[in-house]
């Protein structure tokens, strides 16, 4: 196994990719994300980010601000 064989995300060569495609009767879903039908890839990315961004867009709970202030005060007192 060469180093390049470790990761399949960059995908097999074009030749391999064509062979896999014909093996699968034209279904464009293969091992490597890079060979997946672009529309599907885009959908996965969109869904994933939508779920993630739901949390990102929530306001930061005030307890975290309070915690940082507390940590800061304890540091200031020590030094």
């Amino acid at each position: 196994m060469s180093k390049d064989d470790q990761g399949s995300a960059d995908g097999p060569s074009e030749k391999d990719s064509k062979r896999m495609r014909s093996d699968m009767g034209g279904i464009a879903i293969e091992r490597g994300g890079a060979q997946m039908e672009p529309r599907i890839q885009t959908e996965i990315g969109k869904h994933l980010r939508a779920i993630y961004d739901d949390v990102i867009n929530e306001p930061v709970p005030s307890k975290f601000m309070e915690l940082l202030e507390k940590l800061e005060r304890s540091t200031t007192q020590k030094s």
Partner: protein, 182 residues
């Protein structure tokens, strides 16, 4: 030690990202917030080991991830239970962006092996490079690539079904399909 104002601001700005990653690991927001709190305290305590100017977000993600897995090891059974309800909880979340198929996607995401979900989230949602994700997960870049690839393939199968002939299937049959092709 004294934490510079700039670093404190950066820390504050990282919280939304840390929470999103924590939710993806822990599967519920209460536990996620506990993780974020632990992360902030740990980060503060060892800021002297952080090289200012390097990637703070990756540094914080590493702390959070280590904290999560150390809790998993400590809690054992309790966490097992949390893992068991993960998919159900994700699937029951209301879709907030109006996509009809979002709850199916959440369920499929929840059913991925934890290492694949983690890699996919880091690269596909948090915006880390494969190299950064490998640093955070303390594994080889090739390992991250293959985890992301397998996760994408698995989710792609589901989405292809949804975009194809099973479009419009009710949630029950969609989840049966999901399990059948797993």
């Amino acid at each position: 030690m004294t934490v510079s104002k700039a670093l404190r601001e950066d820390l504050l700005a990282s919280i939304p990202n840390l929470r999103a990653f924590a939710v993806s690991l822990a599967g519920n927001s209460e536990r996620a917030d506990d993780l974020v709190q632990e992360t902030l305290m740990k980060a503060w305590a060892k800021f002297d080991t952080f090289q200012e100017g390097t990637n703070l977000r990756a540094w914080l993600f590493t702390i959070l991830r280590n904290e999560f897995y150390s809790q998993v090891r400590k809690r054992g059974r309790e966490v097992e239970d949390a893992e068991g309800t993960y998919a159900a909880r994700l699937a029951s979340q209301p879709a907030q962006n109006g996509h009809m198929d979002m709850s199916d996607f959440r369920e499929a995401l929840g059913q991925l092996p934890a290492d694949q979900r983690e890699a996919l989230v880091l690269v596909g949602a948090s915006g880390f490079s494969y190299e950064e994700a490998a640093d955070i997960c303390e594994c080889a870049v090739g390992t991250i690539k293959s985890r992301v690839s397998r996760a994408r393939t698995r989710l792609g199968e589901l989405l292809a079904l949804e975009l194809g002939e099973t479009y419009g299937a009710d949630p029950m049959s969609a989840s049966v399909i999901t399990r059948t092709i797993a």
